[in-house]
Amino acid sequence: MLSVEDLYAGYGAILALRGVSLQVKAGELVALIGANGAGKSTLMATIAGVLRPFRGQITFEGQSLLALSPEEIVRRGIALVPEGRRIFPSLTVAENLRLGAATRRDKAAVERDIEEMCTRFPILGKRFHQPGGTLSGGEQQQLAIARALMARPRLLMMDEPSLGLSPILVDEVFAMIRQLHKSGVTILLVEQNVERTLDIANRVYLLNTGRVECQGTPEQLRAQVDIVGAYLGDMWRGD
């Protein structure tokens, strides 16, 4: 479904990705792990079209995404839950959700999806007419995920959805991701919470300073735990 080949990207003179290759097949939950600065968020931003790569290829369902703007890439069916949530603070929850469906023209179905989101995330129904900026961190995270789902993406990319949340909310977020995956959404997940991520992912890529250090099923990665531990340090042992 998504294929990244030999990707080089970065900011100005700083090279954050040095030849990353990665595949996501339809229906998979693929996780990207790695320490801070490993290039995970850069990879997400490059796939979403926010950052232009220096070299390499990104294809989605057989077509190159390289020359496309972010707004065109969403239209191809890739939605992003960005790092730091980035909900629109001055817009109400309802407006945030409606904008999530900006690429869709099926108004009736959009309304139905908004209702469904409020059932799936009850807090969004309660805060429906409140500005997004007044929501707590956990609530904003749910809004960010719901907003991305409103686009009915074929591939959902999530950048550290559990960051900064209380342990209970972290449980909820992971349960939610597992449930989304079960319902058939293809997911590319960036996470710092390695243990939890290995529990739910089909395949995992470990990034280190802009390169894929190792990859495979969670079992394969666990087998290499010592190597991995050397890179991830304490984080590996969980929270």
């Binding site: 926010v50 703007s69 239209r75 629109f88 001055s90 904008l99 999530g100 900006a102 690429t103």
Partner: protein, 299 residues
């Protein structure tokens, strides 16, 4: 005249002038919110509408049609400037865009000097703008009343647009976080063009009243409106549309109020008093009266 009458008179005049100032400020802020560009060529949109009034005013068309065409010309000019002048420098620094806007402003002013005349020319305006009528001892200027009504109407329409339509919501979202707005699939060019169109529309409407009062149009007719718009926007808070409206009405009320309370000998210095008060406001609220939502990145 009793006190009540005086208060009513003040309210009508202040709301009328303030309404126009609010429209001017909104025209600047709606573009600033998204692009971080203070468009100093905004005044030249007023000028373009003014010259359209001048050229078509003596023709056979009824004034309302001429007015509509003039507003349309301001919108078109605004869209054209976005396309040819501002889009190419969109990725550049805020300073580059600011200087571009000065260049565009000077270019249009000089074009007017070259192709029309360096002097202001009399514009045929309906007698409407200078007529008054009396209600219960109150002397009301028809032009002022129209300004009051039209500005309130437009503010209402803008609010509806920003709250009820997808494009309107996208405009507000873009002021919050432009990159994220693109990431949900809103086309950058579309939102920016919409902002410039609204800006041009307000400049055009303001031009009708501004030039209606002045009775003439010249190459520099836009410099006062753009200054007023800028000051009102800064006082209200550059990042907030609500702030622009508040700033506009405040500036209008100040101007009209000082006219009323200042002794005759000081009336000539009214503007100095207005700006002194503006300075005081900014001393205590450097970010303006209304603080906008934080904006992280430009386009």
């Amino acid at each position: 005249m009793n006190v009540l009458q005086e208060v009513l008179q003040f309210l009508i005049n202040a709301l009328s002038l303030g309404g126009l100032y609010a429209l001017m400020a909104l025209g600047l802020v709606i573009v600033y919110g998204i692009l971080r560009l203070v468009n100093f060529a905004y005044g030249e949109l007023v000028m373009v509408a003014g010259y359209t009034l001048l050229m078509l005013g003596t023709g056979p068309l009824p004034w309302l049609i001429v007015a509509a065409i003039s507003v349309g010309m301001a919108v078109l000019t605004s869209l054209l400037l976005e396309r040819v002048a501002f889009r190419p420098v969109r990725q550049a620094s805020a300073t580059t865009m600011l200087i571009t806007s000065f260049a565009v402003s000077a270019l249009l002013q000089n074009a007017a000097i070259l192709f029309v005349s360096p002097r202001a020319k009399a514009v045929v305006t309906p007698s409407f703008f200078t007529e008054n009528f009396q209600v219960g001892g109150l002397l009301i200027s028809k032009g002022n009343l129209a300004g009051l009504v039209v500005s309130l109407l437009l503010l209402g329409l803008l609010t509806l647009f920003l709250r009820r339509t997808l494009l309107g919501i996208a405009l507000r979202a873009a002021a919050d976080d432009f990159v994220m707005t693109r990431l949900v699939g809103i086309r950058a060019n579309q939102v920016i063009a919409a902002a410039f169109a609204i800006s041009g529309f307000f400049a055009g409407v303001v031009a009708l009243f501004w030039i209606g009062r002045l009775g003439s149009v010249g190459p520099f007719v836009g410099s006062t409106p753009v200054l007023v718009a800028f000051v009102a926007a800064v006082v209200g808070g550059m990042q907030s549309l609500t702030g622009a409206v508040i700033g506009g009405y405040l500036l209008g009320a100040l101007t009209v109020g000082l006219q009323l309370v200042l002794p005759q000998s000081l009336l000539d210095y009214r503007q100095a008093f207005v700006f002194a008060i503006v300075l005081l406001v900014l001393l205590f609220r450097p970010q303006g009266l209304v603080r906008g939502t934080t904006i992280t990145e430009r386009v």
